[in-house]
């Protein structure tokens, strides 16, 4: 009986898929953990980076401004943001770059980013690692490519499998955007903010999920305790 329980515990780590490619550093995210949240100010800064930088090439075709209400935006804010992009609140965030043009310029159609943080091993950490993984460190380059040359049409990235990514560095220097809340727009800051935005885009339900989970678990804990006491009472005459 005890051995069964032990083996059951062993089952779970099994599921962890084999890691591959460069090691991805873990970051502290506000949306992690039992009380995970999306900080509205961070989501908004990330929204600025996404719409002003990423959306030049990438879409988030499952996401519209109206969805921002799940990150705590008011209807007025949502309407104003959509209007400033000449979109309705229910228009999806689709890039102006046509896939065919992208194919011609970059040799690859940029992937839709709606669920990108769920679609790569390393999850949000991976997105952040790629955004901050561009490097002109000569030694690192020589380590990755023996002749120090990145394949044509690709860029050196320490976090990308194979170290050669088709996407040019989207955040090459600070102040790619001007944050309205006065936060200095450093590269790590922008990468962090847009990763939070993309995590929100991928899992807008996360706040509701984690919030509801607490109540479900509380209910189940009481239910199970009462069931246990009932069981003990009913079984008293057998034991």
């Amino acid at each position: 009986m005890r051995m069964f329980v032990l083996l059951l515990g062993l089952l779970f780590p099994l599921a962890v898929a084999a890691g591959e490619g460069p090691a991805i550093a873990k970051q502290d995210w506000g949306f992690d953990g039992l009380h995970g949240q999306y900080d509205k100010a961070t989501v908004y800064r990330g929204y600025q980076v996404f719409t002003q930088v990423c959306m030049a090439c990438h879409s988030a075709k499952y996401v519209s401004h109206a969805d921002l209400d799940r990150a705590g935006f008011t209807p007025e804010e949502i309407a104003a943001l959509a209007k400033s992009m000449n979109l309705t609140t229910t228009d999806k965030l689709v890039s102006g770059l046509a896939p065919a043009d992208a194919q011609e310029v970059y040799g690859k159609v940029p992937p839709d980013l709606s669920v990108i943080t769920k679609a790569r091993a390393g999850l949000a950490d991976y997105t952040y690692a790629v955004l901050t993984g561009y490097s002109d460190d000569v030694e690192a380059l020589a380590h990755a490519f023996p002749n120090s040359e990145v394949p044509a049409g690709a860029y050196f990235n320490t976090a990308f499998a194979g170290y050669a990514i088709a996407m040019p560095n989207p955040l090459p220097n600070a102040d790619m955007v001007t944050y309205t809340d006065g936060t200095p727009a450093t590269v790590p800051q922008m990468a962090h903010d847009v990763t939070v935005f993309l995590q929100w885009a991928a899992e807008p339900e996360l706040i509701e999920r984690k919030h509801l989970g607490v109540y479900v678990l509380l209910f189940l804990a009481i239910f199970t305790l009462l069931a246990y006491l009932t069981k003990k009472a009913i079984w008293r005459d057998v034991h």
């Binding site: 099994l14 499952y62 991928a202 339900e205 509701e208 999920r209 989970g213 239910f223």
Partner: protein, 406 residues
């Protein structure tokens, strides 16, 4: 022949409506005889015996959540991936229903694996419960087919490539293999016809499972539950009525189960899944490693452990089909591993070995992993091959006379 003498039939519907109804259609009696006061169960069952009813509940959860998903899902290669996102984002409670279904599939397998491991340990497959066990193996097989087809429906990269790899295995069937594969696909590759038929079957098979589960319970009632001692119980004082004793014990077990389930559903719904399945299916891009869902990994490891494809497929299916003949392979007259020291050791190695197979199944088939997979596969079959010998040479412990003595 049953007596045709009329029973004392309640004639007044207002005096005792329940009895009145039961005298006309004995539904209440049926429930009472199946899981109620009239079903005697051994009084010494431990918590490993909770997993049978848990499996039933897991099945019901899958059917209910699946029904609501089916109301919003679109089985069309152009729409399937989008419709899953639609469920996650726009459908009221859609994310919850999908998480329950997704995590529920994994938990269903955990429960069934424990249920089977319990049967294996306490010799529940032995006479007179061979048919009960065999029906269980059939349920397991249909469950695997159902889960496999369900994983194809979101139409992500692993859906597509998993379906391609697994259906391709049937090409090893002599003479007609390639034709069979094309017939199953409904075309020359996995595509829209494959998706729509998998959807239809994924909806149908759970109800087939329900039907077979009824047979499983029927067979259980013929000889009642086995028990940790494995003794044949004759004495009335060894039994207690299923209700309220085991109903309340199962409800407590259910509570514990639901806590673990809720933790995954609300805090790690994608933990047991694969990130590649959030990339829409693309026939032109093959993922670096195609891996099935975790619950198939031990069998996937057996498949890949054998260098000849045909033999690998035979070994993979054989590793499950061999369970059908287990009652005849193991001819020991002692049921419970408690009194079988040799079998008991081999059993724990077998279980550990099964986990090793699962682990190695998640690794790329290269280097040391191939070697580990081969040894683990060899032991998997060796265990069954040894059973007739074990039964002959094993010195079993002295069996207690009664369960009170145990």
């Amino acid at each position: 022949m049953a007596s045709l003498k009329p029973k004392a039939v309640e004639q007044n519907i207002t005096r005792n409506p329940l009895k009145w109804f039961d005298d006309r259609l004995p539904l209440v009696s049926l429930i009472n005889n199946s899981v109620g006061r009239n079903f005697p169960a051994p009084k010494n069952l431990n918590y490993m015996w909770n997993f049978g009813s848990l499996a039933g509940i897991a099945l019901v959860i899958q059917i209910l959540t699946g029904l609501f998903l089916a109301m919003h899902y679109k089985a069309d290669v152009a729409l399937a991936f989008d419709s899953v996102q639609h469920i996650m984002r726009n459908v009221q409670w859609g994310w919850l229903i999908r998480n329950l279904h997704m995590v529920g599939a994994s938990f269903f397998f955990i429960v069934v694996y424990v249920h089977m491991a319990r049967g294996l340990y306490y010799g529940s497959y032995k006479s007179p419960r061979e048919v009960l066990w065999g029906i269980g193996v059939i349920i397991f097989l249909i469950m695997m087919a159902t889960a496999f087809m369900g994983y194809v429906l979101p139409w992500g990269q692993m859906s597509y490539w998993g379906a391609t790899v697994i259906t391709n295995l049937l090409s090893v069937i002599p003479f007609v293999g390639d034709e069979v594969v094309v017939w199953i696909w409904g075309g020359y590759s996995v595509g829209d016809p494959t998706l729509t038929r998998f959807y239809a079957l994924h909806f149908l098979l759970p109800f087939v499972i329900v039907g077979i589960v009824i047979l499983h319970i029927w067979a259980l009632h013929e000889h009642k539950s086995n028990n940790p001692t494995g003794l044949d119980l004759q004495d009335e004082k060894d039994f207690i009525p299923f209700h309220p004793y085991y109903t309340v014990k199962d409800i407590f077990g259910l509570g514990v189960y639901l806590i673990a389930f809720a933790l995954m559903v609300f805090y790690a719904p994608d933990y047991l899944g694969h990130t590649d399945n959030y990339i829409p299916a693309n026939p032109l891009v093959t993922p670096a490693h195609i891996v099935p869902e975790w619950y198939f990994l031990p069998f996937y490891a057996i498949l890949r452990a054998i260098p000849i494809k045909e033999l690998g497929v035979v070994a993979m299916f054989g590793s499950i089909l061999i369970l059908f003949v287990l009652p005849w392979l193991d001819s020991s007259r002692v049921r419970s591993a408690r009194y079988r020291p040799l079998y008991r050791s081999l059993y724990w190695v077998f279980l550990l070995n099964f986990l090793v197979l699962g682990w190695v199944g998640s690794k790329p088939p290269e280097g040391i992993y191939v070697l580990i997979a081969r040894f683990a596969t060899a032991y998997y079959f060796l265990f069954f091959a040894l059973l007739p010998v074990v039964a002959r040479v094993e010195k079993t412990r002295k069996l207690p006379k009664t369960i009170d003595e145990a």
